[in-house]
């Protein structure tokens, strides 16, 4: 029997689309790409006034597949299905949601795993460094292609929130509202340190082969898995892990200390292994570097308030009480700067036991605030559409 997706609040079966952008695309690092492709999904319908579009930006390990299913047999929906769908926070009955895979990603957009036509081999480590600013420019080309002059909102969590913030600064006329969830205006030293440990785990794997592992039909699975394990721990909270695993044993005997394996060890190893099989090691290096480099205040001598004065959008800034990778204090810095810059801003600190990963979860208060905010934008888009028709 066919699944009743509408009843589940799901957008149902979705098919990724592809945009080929020809010509030279210059990057912030000074290098350029000879054209590129972006794979993306859309949910909902663009209205006649083209005023109801929302761009969803993904985080480090995300993809264009944010909602719905690729096939009826799929066990898991897209990564943000908790918030995208009919009647959900990003209500696809009212909004047209666009979700691309970032340039440099490994889910279909041009990236290190793509074959370089010049050499016939995967770009691998030769793929140029990509920054959040580059992503904004590439996403703006996707918006042009879709006929979207201005997004009602640009939304993202974590690294996705950084893109939303950069959008507001770099493309002020094209953003109605920027929604920054569990994000930061720049990484702290501690945060960069975690990224560097992850990178070292990858590059010191013998199978990394200086990044040319694809040509040798190898995969630095050990290193990439380890990188993911480190990341995963930082995305959870002490109390959250305590609730989920405690000191439960998977096997062995504590009193004899023989063959002891804790549940949390087994879980992390499984997470690392399965991630390493589906993710590209060079993309992981590229994405973590983009995170490290992000600092929009840098262009204004470190003055975030001055950088934000350029923005014309409204802002929603959400953070989570137990998030220590992108703590509430980092969001507060953004909020204070937005107030000083005289921008419209709403901010909430959501009580949650789930650390950084909270932004992916259907927590009632979180989803409630997000939905209230997005519903207002949807209503404004509908009013604009009525005026235009």
């Amino acid at each position: 029997m066919a699944r009743d997706f509408a009843h589940e609040g799901s957008v149902g079966i979705v098919t990724p689309q592809r945009l080929r952008v020809p010509g030279e695309f210059g990057l912030q690092c000074g290098e350029s790409l000879d054209g590129f492709e972006l794979v993306f999904e859309t949910y909902g319908q663009l209205n006649a006034a083209r005023s109801n579009a929302v761009l969803v930006c993904h985080a480090l390990s995300g993809s264009h597949h944010a909602a719905g299913y690729h096939a009826e047999a799929d066990a898991k929906p897209g990564w943000w299905d908790a918030c995208i769908g009919p009647g959900k926070a990003l209500d696809t009955d009212r909004l047209f949601v666009v979700s691309p895979n970032n340039l440099g990603g490994c889910h279909g957009s041009t990236g290190p795993a793509t074959v370089d036509p010049a050499t016939g081999e995967a770009f691998g480590p030769a793929f140029p460094a990509v920054t959040v600013k580059d992503w904004v420019r590439s996403q703006a080309l996707l918006a042009d292609h879709l006929g979207i002059e201005r997004f009602a909102a640009v939304v993202g969590g974590s690294l996705g929130g950084m893109q939303a913030l950069q959008w507001a600064i770099d493309e002020p006329a094209r953003v109605g509202a920027a929604v920054l969830i569990a994000s930061a205006a720049k990484l702290s030293a501690q945060n960069i340190a975690f990224n560097e440990i992850a990178r070292q785990a990858i590059t010191s794997d013998p199978n990394y082969l200086a990044g040319r592992f694809r040509s040798a039909d190898a995969n630095p699975e050990q290193g990439l898995g380890l990188a993911r394990m480190i990341g995963h721990v930082t995305y959870l909270s002490d109390s959250g892990m305590g609730q989920k695993f405690g000191r439960e044993l998977k096997s062995g005997n504590l009193s004899t200390a023989r063959g002891v394996e804790f549940q949390v060890e087994s879980y992390l190893r499984h997470q690392g292994r399965s991630f390493a099989r589906r993710f590209d090691a060079n993309t992981y290096l590229l994405m973590t570097r983009a995170l490290d480099l992000f600092d929009p205040a840098g262009e204004c001598g470190g003055d975030l308030v001055a950088a934000l004065r350029r923005a014309q959008s409204d802002f929603l800034v959400l953070s989570f009480s137990t998030d220590w990778r992108f703590s509430a204090a980092r969001s507060k810095e953004i909020v204070d700067a937005l107030i000083a810059a005289g921008k419209n801003v709403v901010s909430a600190v959501i009580d949650s036991a789930h650390g950084h990963d909270s932004f992916l979860l259907p927590l009632p208060r979180y989803v409630g605030v997000l939905k209230a905010y997005m519903d207002r934008l949807a209503a404004a888009a509908e009013a604009g559409s009525a005026d235009a028709s």
Partner: protein, 201 residues
Amino acid sequence: MRPDLKIIADLVNPGARVLDLGCGEGELLAGLRAEKQVNGYGLDVDPDNIAICVGKGVNVIEQNLDQGLANFPDDSFDMVVMTETLQSVRMPVLVLDEMLRIGQECIVTFPNFGHWRSRWHLLLKGRMPMARHLPHDWHDTPNIHLCTVKDFERLVRDKGLRIIQRFVAGADHRNRPLMNLMPNLFGAIAFYRLGRPPCSR
């Protein structure tokens, strides 16, 4: 608009930069935006209030007053407002100082413990006063720093603050002539518009 908020709104200049401490459901800020082109910010900690503010399009920031206001620079607002919240903060004097550091002026309102009903209640019943403007039982009240009009004015005098306007009203937030004559006895809610000490900066 609620009558007490209307009284406050009348004291705010059009286009002013306003910070509302304990903004509740955002009624004052929504009203100021509609009537005076004031795009202010409100602080609150109640999740339900925050959701209601979001629905109204009010700039609400989740922040606990008891954890300080150090994140707001000096002189960053024209007017800082706090409605019937002074009595429930941990350090009212510190909050008052902060309000006049952040804002050029401030508006503070509080329930007057010197009202004749409170006095009557304590005198005759021998119990902690409860009234329409003081509805909580002693053990579950958020009001930990109640004061009278006289107490407050003494504090204001000791700190050398300027009283730009004073206004008292009943629990229904309406003013009657007798209240102006004996505010500490007949005023249930007191409104003060305060400025910094002369030549403080």
